[in-house]
Symmetry: C2
Subunit: 747 residues, 2 copies
């Protein structure tokens, strides 16, 4: 669903790993393994690598992307059944688990400009002869945004840039009001569902979202079919449900959408949009945008269409948007396949990727899905040779990710109690392509990720994927990333916001999670369009499936190590270091806001702000803001100090000794992340429990770390900020106590 | 010729000005004036302000822009004669001073694409009905670059972004070679003459320069005639002579181009380009650029045309460029008008603006020229009431600025000895428009500029123009500008590179100079096109001539104060502070280059740089560079310390005492800037004598401060850097000794 190269941790200088003991020849053991078991494990991984076959990826990708396979389509179910049969044939205890979810599809879609120019939007992606599946119009879902409400509105049009809160501040300063109007926002700058949400908050009555060629079209590269990039007819389908409130079926928050589950009335479902919203191509957007009047927008708002971008909003432009949907309940099909653990069957290593797509979905999600299948097959092969994982491995092919993480969320909600007891780690993947490893996730696994990244060879350069990622950080990173790549033992992995199926595991249940994939050298532009096809992917994505194999090697290695380790390879000093960064960030945030508020209020009151404006342009003076008080960050600072202490003690304890009972230690370690989840959840969105990572309420994909505190500060709610500091501090302290318990078991 | 808003110094907190004595009521005297004379002067300035008439500006602008008036045209001479008669009528001792200069005009201009598409460039700017002078095709100079050599070349085309040295490094990394090819560069990023110079250095055989709509077209705002901005047919004429080597007539470096001057053979004239070069519109550029092949260019290279920008350079594209010129000697007409000083006639305050244009030139240069005329008239009015300036005022309307500062340079070279003796200050203006004051110049006048800016009222906001400029620095400035605007008593004025007629005075003769104008709220896009007309200017430039009056008030006030002060209002602590900034900058430059070189060499040798590249794209590994040695900056640091000391001593001395002889003090002060000029000149371009300010050899307009040292470091010539540090240090020490002499006269 969500393509982005996350930060990744890796290490060439890895000096000491927890629970690793020096072996006589100076080699390091793998994290969590004894020297002897390390050697055994490495041999196993070599066998695993050798068993992987790129032809399988190609064959499965071709087959599974042969027809559209969105939720509710016949081919969606067929794909699930195909995978089920494969997984069963490889020795897994596999089954399909169904849920019944609300899934709207379009009945009526009309977009026309009435004035000053007559124009009716095409709203279609034509077949191109170079793309053999692009002509399957009878099965293709048309271009639309899922969970838009029905609506029929006619109003002036306003260009709102990305449509995020800061853009509305700019509109306000320019005297542009969106009340009673239809807004047109470009994709990017936030998750798409933020755009209609913020538009509605400001009184807009309709919302269009288009792909500007600056972000996603000819500005980036040659367009399809000549090149990989989005052409003038390509449009981006996608969900606009308010997922930062809760993901999953809009009618069954917190519970599984089983056949007889108690459902909300659709009219009361809080995550369905408040205004109608539809995505369009830049071909359809051009006639609308070139007719807008009003002032010229700021430079950072301007896209790559060959026009002067204006705010619009004047009565001279009239746009008519009419949308109606079939509000059906559809069945989704998760494929769940278990390989039972030999020693600790109640410790689960869960590995997932979704299989549903918006159309043919060769890249999103099948490129990740087929790599995961091959990984599962490889592990099945190992099992056939007599080997067994210590812990249970669970492969999950999720349905309904695209409309809103439906399959994973409903499954996680249904099995919440069991998962809280048994889940050790969840590893997610999604789209995959040629390029660099990207990893985000729980920083308790950062050192482990770094270790694995050293052991996978990049197919193009023959150095390790870790080394290659470090190289791109050193060459292309931000100044801070460059510095860390030079100086820090491990490279820092990214924090997870949302956009794929890790969210229910990490942020709802508190299960340590990772999300990984390769990319950065593959061509974009097919995302959520009919052109996300086998033909496109094998020209621009990962033509030889080299990186499909690399993904299988990486995630497979993670799965195998986590499943086989003597003790789960969690490590806490890197986590403490990263939390330290976050604490520093929010303290700096408050200080910066205080200084900026002071300066801005001063410039408002002394006339400086006004004097710097062009008197011939509209400028609405902003109101002074209340001063930013000094907040008591001491509870967080004390909790951080405690965390650092506990992390260090655990590291020291595990350096040369082992736990008396590895199983007891595991039981503590696998639940440490649970301590980071607060059962009361975040303010105003209690589905989200994790106190360190959450998708931003106004960013959607983008993570907010220490979200309760950070968002309270951003929203200038000083009282709430103070309250949440205490709650987060207490959470971190409890987490540190869990580490202490683990340390106790070793001494 | 050159439009840009320079930094400007100003002050609200001005606490002590040199030679200013407290008057009993706490008011401050004007810099250089006794309290009594300050009061008299302020009264004079009020009378001056009251005499200014905006109708004159409108009338003169209309008249003088009524026909094309480039060098060699009948109307160029008519305008000179018109101004002569005006200046005479206002009581000036005025005359026209002629020079005979090389001025090529086009005979043949052909640009066509031969493959893969046939296309012949239009190379013309059509008349538009909203612009009454745009149809004067019989008198318009066609679109061309003056001082391009003749040429007839056919070759593949390569896009080189701005065509500056860093762009060729990027081309090289991408394996794109321009040898034997024609380059197409976009305007911007440097002065235009740099583009063919650097292209030829890299082996290109032809050069096109086009106006990309990103920088100068619809991306910026609505295009003409709907809005102010350049339309698809607008093209930018302009000189491409190698002016960073020397400006003025290419055949008479260092000497005046008088009738019988010894001239270089044109074949040996070093400032004529090495390859043919022509400017084109974005309408003409589009078919060329959209046919380029090769890799997609980096993001920062991409313009606003609706295409994917590629490097090109492949054999598939063939372009034919044929240019031939009439290489005529033409007469130029400077108007020089003197108002003799009553007390110190041999101290000259020189005020200049050019009058020649590329076509009708309403904005460039007449907007500044008519303000200067009104200023001269106002001073003439004052003289008619019996007042006389203490010092001589010289008004200069330069011809031939556009082709290469011809009028000012030839005049300055002809009268070099007299000017070195008599010139105290040169004040330049050029295009002028609605908006904020911008000032650049000698920092010995920075405090004076700050003082004047407090005394001129902004016509739109009714606060001082200084206050308004401070406001825009505080609101829109860089972080450093904001900080200085908050904390520094005076705002820092910009350093002068080149691009208008101050260059021969400041950088060749060492005369303290200022360049000023208003702008930032006027619409661009007519620059050097047929659309730079009265109609365009009165819609988008300065419709009511409010800022023409403001310029007359500002430059007139400067002229009047400089002409009337008891002692010339030079001040040296601000200058020392600014030189301190420059010294710190070049030391940081060397440190940064050392660190970057080390890191890059490391990344080349250890494979990091290669590992971060996409193996499917061409990447030519750069060669390691030699290490950056530690340079001995001590001579500069010691000279700076001495300068700071001398500046402080002069400030202290002038605080409460006056010079025994104001005239003797003046004689030292007016020549202090001369001490900053080294008669040997800069390495490889000895016409440029000033050791603090010069146009960059590879930037053209953009200033290089401490140029001899800075450019040696930039070019990695460590030996020259060391040598030039000593020379510049000695120059600064000599300057400090001049200040000491002035201080002696006061004690």
């Amino acid at each position: 669903m969500f393509r982005s190269i996350l930060n990744i941790g890796l290490s060439f200088l890895l000096t000491c790993s927890i629970l690793a003991q020096s072996v006589p020849n100076g080699d390091k053991s793998l994290m969590g393994f004894s020297p002897e078991n390390s050697i055994r494990q490495k041999t196993l991984e070599q066998k695993f690598d050798a068993s992987l076959r790129r032809e399988n990826l190609r064959e499965w990708l071709k087959k599974m992307s042969a027809r559209p396979h969105h939720v509710g389509s016949p081919y969606d179910k067929e794909n699930a059944e195909f995978m089920l049969s494969l997984l069963k044939s490889w020795g897994y205890n596999a089954q399909i688990e169904q849920f019944d979810v609300l899934f709207p599809t379009p009945k009526t879609r009309v977009l026309e400009m009435l004035a000053p120019e007559k124009f009716t939007a095409k709203l279609s992606e034509p077949a191109v002869k170079e793309d053999s599946t692009s002509n399957q119009s009878s099965e293709q879902l048309p271009v639309y945004n899922a969970y838009s409400i029905d609506g029929d509105v006619t109003a002036p049009l306003v260009y709102v840039n990305y449509g995020i809160p800061a853009d509305y501040e700019e509109l306000e300063r320019n005297g542009v009001d969106v009340r009673g109007k239809i807004v047109i926002a470009r994709y990017g700058g936030s998750w798409r569902g933020i755009k209609p949400k913020v538009a509605a908050e400001h009184g807009a009555i309709g919302c269009l979202i288009y792909s500007d060629p600056r972000n996603d079209g000819f500005f980036q590269g040659d367009v399809y079919p000549k090149g990989a990039w989005r052409n003038e007819n390509g449009a981006q389908r996608g969900s606009v449900a308010d997922m930062p409130t809760f993901p999953g079926d809009p009618l069954t928050p917190n519970i599984g959408a089983t056949k007889n589950a108690k459902r909300l009335d659709r009219k009361n479902a809080p995550t369905i949009t408040k205004i109608p919203v539809m995505p369009i191509s830049y071909g359809d957007a051009l006639p609308l945008l070139r007719n807008l009047e009003g002032a010229v927008v700021p430079e950072s708002w301007r896209g790559a269409l060959p026009i002067t971008y204006h705010f619009g909003g004047t009565e001279a432009t009239k746009v008519h948007l009419k949308l109606a949907f079939n509000w059906d309940i559809k069945t989704i099909y998760n494929v769940i396949a278990k390989m039972k653990g030999s020693e600790r069957p109640d410790e689960w290593i869960i590995r997932g990727n979704h299989h549903d797509a918006w159309v043919n979905g060769a890249d999103d999600p099948l490129s990740g899905q087929v790599a995961m299948l091959e990984e599962a097959r490889g592990i099945g092969e190992l099992v056939k040779t007599g080997w067994k994982p210590k812990r249970t491995i669970v492969y999950c092919a999720w349905d309904g990710e695209e409309p809103g993480l439906l399959g994973s969320t409903e499954w996680a909600e249904t099995h919440a109690d069991e998962l809280k007891n048994k889940a050790a780690v969840y590893i997610n993947s999604d789209s995959n392509g040629r390029g660099f490893l990207g990893v985000g996730g729980s920083h308790t696994l950062e050192k482990f990720v770094n270790e694995v990244s050293r052991d996978v060879i990049d197919p193009q350069t023959k150095i390790s994927v870790g080394e290659r990622w470090r190289a791109t950080q050193l060459v292309n990173g931000s100044p801070n990333s460059k510095k860390e790549a030079r100086e820090r033992t491990d490279l820092r992995i990214g924090a997870l916001g949302s956009g794929s199926d890790y969210t229910p595991f990490l942020q709802h249940l508190g299960i340590a999670s990772l999300n990984l994939g390769y990319g950065g050298e593959d061509g974009g532009g097919s995302y959520h369009s009919v052109y996300d096809s086998f033909d496109h992917y094998t020209r621009f994505g990962d033509p030889n499936f080299d990186y499909g194999i690399a993904l299988a090697q990486t995630a497979g290695r993670m799965t195998l190590r986590l499943a086989n380790a003597d003790v789960l390879p969690f490590e806490f000093t890197n986590f403490a270091d990263t939390v330290g960064v976050y604490v520093k960030e929010i303290m700096t945030l408050a200080d910066t806001m205080r200084e900026e508020t002071k300066q801005m209020n001063q410039m408002i009151s002394d006339g400086t702000l006004k004097a710097a404006q062009d008197p011939k342009e509209t400028f609405v003076m902003p109101k002074p803001k209340s001063d930013v008080p000094f907040l008591n960050f001491a509870p967080l600072q004390n909790a951080l100090a405690k965390l650092q202490e506990s992390a260090k003690n655990y590291q020291k304890a595990t350096k040369n000794k082992s736990a008396t009972s590895q199983k007891s230690l595991d039981e503590i370690l696998m639940k440490t992340e649970r301590a980071l989840a607060n059962q009361k959840g975040l303010p105003r969105r209690d589905w989200f429990k994790h106190q360190i990572y959450a998708p931003g309420f106004y960013t959607g994909y983008g993570v907010k770390t220490l979200p309760a505190v950070r968002e309270a500060i951003e929203q200038r709610d000083w009282k709430e900020a103070g309250e949440q500091i205490s709650i987060v501090a207490k959470t971190i302290e409890n987490f540190a106590l869990e580490i202490d318990k683990a340390t106790q078991l070793i001494r």
